[in-house]
Amino acid sequence: MDAIEAARQEAARLHDLAVALGDDNYSLLCFVSAEASRREIEIYPVSKDDPQLKGGRAVFDSQAWMILYENVGSDFDKAFLIAHEIGHVVLEGGSEDSVAEDTEPDRPAEAPAIGAERVADYGCRERREVIMDLFAREFMLPRRLAKRWHIEEVLSSTAIANRLNMPLTVVQQQLIDALLLPAIFPKPQKPKEKASVPVVLDPSQRAAACHHGTPFQLQAGPGTGKTRTLVHRIETLLNAGIDPGSIVVLTFSNKAAGELRDRIAVSFPKAIATLWLGTFHSFGLDIVHRFHDRLGLSENPRVITRYEAIELLEDEVARLPLKHFRNLYDPTLDLGDMLSAISRAKDEVVNAAQYKALAKAMLETANDEQQTEQAEKCLDVAHLFEVYEQLLLKEDSVDFGDLVSLPVRLVEDDTEVRKLLSERHQHILVDEYQDVNRASVRLIKAIAGEGKQLWVVGDSRQSIYRFRGASSINMKRFAQDFPEASVGELAVNYRSVSEVVNLYSQFSSGMLASKGALPLQLSADRGVSNELPELRVAKTANDEIAVIAAAVEEAKQQGFDYKEQAILCASNNRLSEIAASFEKVGLPVLYLGSLFERDEVKDLLSILSLVTDRHAIGLVRAASLPDFELPLDQLSLLHQHIRHAGLEPLGWGEQVDDVPGLLEQTRNTLKRLSVVLEGFPINGNPWSILATLIIDRLELAKRAALAEDLEGQMQGIALWQLLNFCRKPINGKGLPIERLLSRIRRIVLLSEDREMRQLPRAALGIDGVRLMTIHASKGLEFKVVHLPGMIATGLPANNKPPRCVPPDGLVEGTEGMTGLEAIKAGHEEEEECKFFVAASRAEDRLLLYASSAQNNGKRRNHSKYIGRIEATIQRNTEPLLLFAAPVPLEVFPVSTKDLLITQKQLSLYDRCPRRFLYTHVLALSGRRTESAFMKMHSAVYDVLDWLVRQHSESTPTLAELEAQYEQSWCNKGPVDHGYADDYRKIGQRLMEYLIETRQGRQLVKPEVLRISFPDGEISVLPDEITLDTDGNHTLRRINTGKKSKEEYDHIEYSILMEAAEQHFGCGSRVEAVHLAGETQEQVTITDRKKATRLERTQTALTAIANGYFPEKPAVRSCPRCPHFFICGKVPEGEMRIKI
């Protein structure tokens, strides 16, 4: 239990005591005042600007033993201030004064898992203020009480708010905490913890902790008590009388910092107020705050995340002369890739000007096409970099990379700053030194100088954060960076049985990361277990999961609880598959997965979308919920009506009785649904609406609170995380709900939701098998570790270099290598480290898994790492399997007489059958919020439509074209945009290019061509047809974007070629025109490929006729699909294809 929870539980206890003594907890001001007077604290309301308030809203004066509070606002406001100060007295003893400046009664107990709050974290003082706010809220409305009132007395959040005269948001936040998260019970004190046993260090730990006089690097293998040593080191310094204010401890994560803080607070509670403890990012942010004026920033610059940066830059992309990253339709991914490259540059303290110089140098020395392309990509990034830096300054913002690179520059260039910092921060300790980037080391060098009082600990073999800019040379170069350094190592492993230690020790001798490190020579304190780690070999990948399931169950029978076991995967890909399989088998698994793709979250987001979506496509998902089931054909009638009536969002609610053909039951259900959404304004706050939906309207919170199964609990946790995420308002134009939904799409597209897979603290007690990536397992340990995927392409995985490779010479320590080579060199080393980290998580048992056959029956090789550890494992080639009953494929009965589909529709089916279902069968005209780019495209398409209608055989005059473009632009283009002109020019160029490609060609009016298949027909309408000088026809397909590498693999081209052949004979051609890329090319497809694709077309038609519309999820497509939020569920009922 952490400090916040402990504070809340104390507050609840005091509440109950007060009520038992007869205080009236319905009158908050009296209730709180009574508690104060019970403690003989005098309370005085004073005016807002009373000097005694010291600029705050409330004050506790320790000498006078009194609380002052500003006499402003409601009784609740005042009660809250008083309770906040009482918190200081109760939890801190009252020996010090405190001032409450900013209170936030409805704040959550944890910062959201995603976003800039994670970096900044709370400073020591702020953390205390957060704790006091939570104490105050809990004291006035304990979670237990709120839960009882809501569930047993059936009070809505509004009713509770009225009962106590407490603001609704505060009540709702408390209910959210009370109902959605499992309760945390104080752990019974283990007997050995009762006596304060002094910690005993082994000789290697002691030597490291007590070292002094020279810079020191401790190489600490896994499980060797590194944290204990670090804590002891800090305590040694404090015991020697070192001022805690001069000590800085830098950790890898805020979580690690928090844990360290708690441990040190046990013996040195006062020291942690001034001892600096946090991540490099937090430290950097601190420096930025202190010297903001020298950086041209305000005192409180905004820290922006990658997706916020993309939102900033989206508009700028239109004006940049980019060559390769020119996705005019949706620049999100390109921007994401480029920003990653920029971040990498900041890791190496390279600014925009230097980056450009490196890129130009690359271009000059480029020998072949590939090198030229790499260099041009770097130049593209350089252009963006320049604009980006200016924009950041203008917006008074910094990104994560700046948090370290800006201080480095400052400290390296400004002697005064350097002096101030090095005088203040005399003792620097760094944890996880193998994971810091080069910028961080430069910062340390600048501050610590020779580093006589520098103490770092790390393990080169656990360096798995290269992709985040960690520099692998830091550990190796320590003695160069800090001459006269001493190096030490820890000798004893306390975590694992010796068979496990042997396995990874054996592996370590061949590791690339071992070069330049002391050899790993650990003795296993726990001794032998007489059980070798095992390699279990399954047939197919699906079998592999069944083997793991059986092994988990077997371990459980042997006494290992589910929560003591972990499945560690090398990548994210298989996690949801494994989770789903485990759920089917009935094994509890603790895996939150991508939050925004969970069913209960999508249900809510679909319902939320109804508040702003006039097309009401969210009804499709709502109608598949158990309480609101509607047959599909009924829903179709409603949607038809909505489409024709042109209603406001939620307007359908009033028209339910007017829609022809609806059954009585349908009308009732729709009316009930309308009531659920009653009163939500179109520009409403998403958090408030979701909270009300979850707590009151849909009673989901209650359901989660009463759930006894793991799945029910996980649903509650997911909803809690969703609400936490939605709290922070998103800047920008448009309606808040729409901004939120756009933001979510972007986050999923960029895979930033991975960060949200961290569970809230309350979830950690749940008994389920832990399922996570190897990266997420860092620092953790489990009794049993299952490591699947030990196959040739699994570990080491193939190198996937980033889209923007760093320019040659950017990465320090890679002299002589190109950027690409530098990446490749790092990759192999890192893959070995991943295996090392995974294997070393195991305490008692380690199980490795591999499949031996691919899906097509061909053999699959084991990972080459197996060969290196052969001597330390045993093999099991006939392992047990635990299978779930196979789930039948979902079928949607479709009435298909004379199936006739266009080639564009079939193409959509090929990309994603489920999307086809939503778009063409259910005829849902979903529309996402359009970015400026998309609007420009709409305008261009508008002109293309006009061309097809009016000039399929002729050429418009320049005047006609311009007039039409003007009209389309005004109707559909991003006219209000700041850079409207730039977009307009781009759109104009697209048009011009199209006309250019038509020059000198004779146009023929396109007519529908039909191709027959056994199960139906495809109707093909080409965009344009020309009759060429050799008498042959060319069918033209016009695309607004750029030609992709596998462009002609798209099924539409094969269909077009078939249609051309059938109707115009052998010599006919198909041409692909790409406007943005300005390419015009004849399509060539081998006969074999064409035959395969036509077969695929046939299969598709058959599948449609039989009602198969499976989802085809893809990370880069789903978030862009208009049906992203509703996808997954379809109500039952008969449907008909609509063309």
Partner: protein, 201 residues
């Protein structure tokens, strides 16, 4: 670095430099009394600290000790937002020196609210508006001479102990009120108010 000093500043700097015990606490006194010379004072104190001192301990003691601590205090004076800012207010204010228990007792004995007494302690009440009778009563209860107490009451409003502020929100510890105003907004009962007003003589 400023190169020209006005006379006032020079005098103050000189006074500081001849202080026998130039530690962080004394610096804080000076900075409070002469906020306009703050930066010059801090610069001077840093200079003086780094000047070789023949009484200094031999340099082989590695730990930062007093020098480091003094440094960190100086640093904290540069930026109040620094978490290391924990300057203790020094004891030239006899009211502040009182134990908690004694403070509360004195409030009772004076028949004023604790709030009122803190206003006295923090020099929030304009000293010129305080009745002599009250001041002598307080001095007697506290056990110091009237002059000592008066000096403290006349000092500029002090910052409270161990508190931390955001760097932009200047604490409004600078505002003062008259004795009459203090009577009205310190939560005193009618009877207490009359008793105090009567002291005006």
């Amino acid at each position: 670095m400023k190169t020209t000093h006005d006379t006032g500043e020079r005098d103050v700097l000189h006074a500081f430099s001849i202080e026998p015990n130039r530690d962080a606490e004394i610096l804080a006194v000076y900075v409070e009394q002469y906020p306009q010379y703050r930066e010059a004072l801090i610069d001077l104190s840093i200079e003086l600290l780094t000047a070789p001192n023949l009484d200094e301990k031999p340099p082989k003691i590695v730990s930062s000790d007093s020098a480091g601590r003094a440094w960190s205090r100086f640093q904290s004076l540069l930026s109040p937002a620094d978490p290391a800012f924990a300057t203790k207010n020094f004891a030239i204010n006899p009211l502040l020196d009182l134990s908690d228990q004694r403070f509360r007792e004195i409030a009772k004995e004076l028949n004023v609210t604790r709030l009122f007494l803190t206003r006295l302690r923090d020099s929030v009440i304009q000293a010129s508006t305080l009745p002599e009778r009250l001041v002598s009563q307080v001095a007697q209860l506290v056990g110091v001479g009237v002059d000592t107490l008066n000096t403290a009451l006349h000092a500029s409003p002090s910052m409270p102990t161990g508190q931390r502020f955001k760097s932009d929100g200047k604490p409004s510890a600078g505002k003062q009120m008259t004795f009459d105003e203090a009577i009205e907004n310190s939560g005193l009962s009618e009877e207490q108010k009359s008793a105090l007003k009567a002291m005006k003589g």
